[in-house]
Symmetry: C2
Subunit: 582 residues, 2 copies
């Protein structure tokens, strides 16, 4: 395989020329975190990903994880890489300084996640879920739990896991059956089985802190009877050292399509000792505050794999000689000369670079949501992030999977052979469309909940923002075309959004996935417009950005017209057929 090339030059372009990073940091009183610092951190992160994680990506897939006498054994190199990652401070990058975090902006975290996902998705899930667990604890747990668990989760000495799903309770968590019974000392005895638990256990050393959804004895039925518990693999002594093994064990490792180096566990809890996090029966709400960040991270996984697969496919297309040049004079030629190979590569790149920009824009909104001095600005930014979260999760991962498939296609028959590594990207990318809420669930969240935020004012404010950017960019020669075509897509999206206002569940369900895709394409068009508007210069990077914006406008964005017609058809063609006729 080709080396992994971290996209640091693109990050730099986005920070300086598109996203106004320094001004954004200054606005929230963090002027000391400037572009130079950000780029140097991204460079270091990129080196770690390229030099340590990318080389064990395929070997990890081949070796996989094993359960030996009830203990998880991860593939060669993963334990060392994890300890190096933690010691390098990467687990604490964006964490709260109160618990040892570096408090660096979330945009660096998301782009670190992109490079982690690009170089080793199975690995990247480990710190990703630790962060999710830490955020839930920070937001909802008692001071005592925070003091005991957060510093070591932040330092990476311990890892975290989220235990939600049960075999009969996936999308619908109301059906979960795991029980928690109060002990006399204020702790609880947790009993039940959870499935699909990423990094439920490992052999990296330290503790594994599970956040488990379970029902109290007197809990009401449904989602209003679910509580959240912190359940550690090892009980923790008063001095912080590891004590007795808790009553929990790995039932088996899930045999999956991909992410084979990720120890995804079936977990059995047998009177495992746990502590309530947050209010009784309010577990789902506690989980959701954290889940939005996780969903952004999963979106980034699609982006990361797409970027990695693009790099491999470009390398191959430049080296592989097959067929004649278009003018018939040279033979054989690198396949990157063939129009259809270019088409596949350009599709991928148009997704990757727009996604990267949109991830950055969203991350800066998250920063505003947390740190802007003005409460109203914080609330506005928070609402925009909430709106965009399902778009990032589902849009990025759908495009990510399509990108991995197209990159594999560039390799022809070799793409199907494991040795070349491309089929792993396809298998790994596939999970991101499924977990953390399937992409269908994301689409329902978008049209059923997020469109209705503040009575529709949030989505309208984003549309106004996009329209203003398009109007401004339309004046520049480099962005006029993409601005015009994105405005067309935006008009279709606005009409769709208006039509769905107050629609019933079936209407929303029938429109959801196509609407989310239309939203994602429009958002990408917006980002391409901003990038093209910033690319009026003579540099090769500016020239490439202009060409890419034009490609996206003319060869990708037209999908919007088909989608809008499909959505217009309404729910009747979907619902008319009787269930028995399937």
């Amino acid at each position: 395989m080709q080396p992994y090339l971290p996209p640091v030059a693109d990050y730099h372009f986005l920070l300086v020329e598109v996203l106004g990073f320094d001004a954004a940091m200054a606005e929230i009183g963090k002027a000391e975190i400037d572009t130079d610092l950000a780029v140097s951190i991204l460079e270091e992160a990129g080196k770690f990903c390229a030099q340590t994680l990318h080389p064990i990506n395929r070997s990890g897939d081949e070796e996989g994880c094993h359960l030996v006498n009830g203990e998880v054994k991860t593939p060669a190199g993963f334990g060392d890489a994890y300890r190096e990652f933690a010691q390098g401070g990467w687990t604490s990058l964006s964490a709260d300084p109160e618990y040892g975090g570096q408090g660096l902006p979330f945009i660096l975290q998301l782009w670190l996640d992109e490079m982690l996902s690009a170089s080793n998705l199975s690995f990247g899930l480990v710190p990703g879920l630790s962060r999710g667990a830490a955020e839930a604890i920070a937001a909802h747990a008692s001071e005592e739990l925070k003091a005991t668990y957060l510093p070591k989760l932040v330092s990476g000495e311990w890892t975290g896991a989220m235990a939600l799903t049960e075999s009969s309770a996936g999308t619908d968590l109301a059906l979960l059956k795991t029980k928690a019974t109060p002990n006399t000392d204020g702790s609880y005895a947790v009993t039940g089985q959870k499935i699909f638990i990423s990094t439920g256990d490992h052999d990296f050393g330290g503790n594994v802190i599970h956040l488990v959804l379970a029902r109290l004895p007197d809990a009401p039925e449904g989602v209003k009877g679910i509580s959240l518990f912190l359940v550690p693999k090892f009980l923790v002594n008063d001095d912080g050292s590891l004590g007795a093994r808790n009553g929990m064990s790995v039932g088996s490792l899930e045999e999956k399509m991909g992410i084979h180096a990720q120890p995804t566990c079936v977990m059995n809890y047998d009177d495992a000792i746990g502590w309530l996090v947050g209010e009784p029966n309010r577990g789902l709400a506690a989980m959701f505050t954290m889940m939005n960040a996780e969903r952004l991270m999963v979106g980034i996984q699609g982006l990361g794999i797409a970027g990695a697969a693009y790099g491999q496919a470009v390398g191959y297309a430049k080296e592989r000689l097959q067929g004649r040049s278009a003018d018939g004079t040279r033979n054989p030629v690198p396949i990157i000369e063939h129009a259809d190979v270019r088409r596949m590569l350009l599709n991928i790149r148009s997704f990757v670079e727009a996604g990267r920009a949109l991830a950055g824009w969203t991350a800066l909104q998250m920063e505003r949501a947390h740190h802007h001095p003005d409460a109203e600005e914080r609330a506005k930014a928070d609402a925009l992030v909430a709106l965009l979260t399902p778009v990032v999760k589902a849009g990025f991962t759908d495009f990510g999977f399509e990108s991995a498939v197209q990159a594999q296609q560039v390799f022809g028959g070799h793409g199907y052979i494991r040795e070349w590594g491309m089929e792993q990207y396809v298998r790994d990318a596939r999970i991101a469309q499924i977990y953390e809420g399937t992409n269908g669930v994301q689409a329902m969240d978008l049209v059923g909940r997020k469109f209705g935020l503040a009575g529709g004012a949030v989505v309208e404010s984003l549309f106004a923002l996009i329209a203003a950017d398009l109007a401004e960019a339309a004046k520049s020669e480099s962005a006029a075309l993409i601005a015009e075509r994105t405005a067309e897509a935006l008009a279709l999206l606005k009409q769709t959004t208006a039509n769905l206002k107050g629609a019933d569940v079936d209407s929303l369900g029938a429109a959801a996935v196509d609407t989310l895709r239309l939203f994602a394409l429009t958002s990408y068009g917006w980002m391409w417009t901003r990038m093209a508007a910033a690319s009026g210069g003579d540099s090769p990077l500016h020239a490439a950005k202009r060409d890419m914006a034009r490609y996206f406008a003319l060869r990708v964005l037209p999908q919007a017209h088909g989608l809008a017609r499909q959505i217009e058809a309404g729910p009747d063609p979907v619902m008319a057929i009787d269930a028995d006729a399937f």
Copy 2:
């Protein structure tokens, strides 16, 4: 997993109500092969697939093939299944009676192939490639070679393999390096390495007959210097018994993304004894006469897996309980009630049933091409088959893969777990987009060669045929909508075809894949129109066909509008970017 349900009722509907099978057979003088006979054969074939092949599909994927002391070991049950298949006469179904074949029409062969691919793609490749080898031998080899090899290939006692690809010669066979040197006895010594050789060897007993592309010592460079050789694993004694082992061996088994039960070999030929098939230096032409049939078969593989995945997903969606009914009164409900789950299932079904119909229509044209008493009718039919071949190969396999992915999505997290079998469909379906000429190569064949057949008259004749069917169907209430929408797509396709007339290589290459998809969607619309027009009755099957045609018209076919705009953009956005800027 759910049992495999052969689609015999749908075959019956197509034969009687859509394709006019009995009249078609009568027209070519085969009235004795009527619907009753055809359906009884399809029923028997379906039983074999459901009872023998489907049960070893997942176990075969798990176990895979192994190379033990240079000998291929296939998974448990495959050898027995193969022998039962051959003894049941299934290898000889459509083969020439002169060599022991049953001479049954190709439509039965294609639909048998659909059920083979649905129940066990790895297995289905074995007889599929034997048939390809037999066809090439029948069309081009000497009488002596035919007499020696064809009866046992037809009976299934021996199998066949096609050895084209080398590591540096895939799409571009001009680059192949395998050599053939004349021996003094009229045979040749073949030396070289071939990769990706499906069923290059196995442990089913009998002989393995390789058709190998190689260069004679005095051969010109490029594709005009390639010859075709018959190279058997065992030399054959004069009495037809197996003699000495030939100088060929399995270098290794390809480690692939899927079709793990298929022994895909790297083959080494070391002065292996072979015989020339056809003229020296005309090997590529000999190979291509056979390759069209293979391409149709590969298209059918996409169709088969899509149908199988649909069956599994429907079964799951009826049993899996998650979430509330749309009216909020019932909880939990089978997920088939949810609009987005229905949307995925209906997408798949709209592809499967239209593909099945188009496969049948194409197969009847093949029958006309071979057996119609009028030479002009034979030529017309042959040209239509040539035109549709890349559409079937690439269209069916693209839709097939998309269908497998959507069916997997219906399963949520379980779709990613091997035990549930859905991820195998995705991995297996993926190969069909790649081998036998990648789908990009198919698209170039369509726009670069097939559109130009008879100066464009062939594609125009198909468009006229479609237009006439649409005009007729538009008069019936059950088909008016789908006829109208398909006519819109046809207009877009006609415009595209006209624009591409005389276009240069880059223009063709940039438009190829989108044009093929537009062509496939239009063809599916045509088939849905024909099915809807035949479905004016009260039966549940007719009602479902009408509903499906409406679904396809309103929720799938609109893609055509996006595609047409993308194609219109021309090659410039694709070619403008410098290769160094990738």
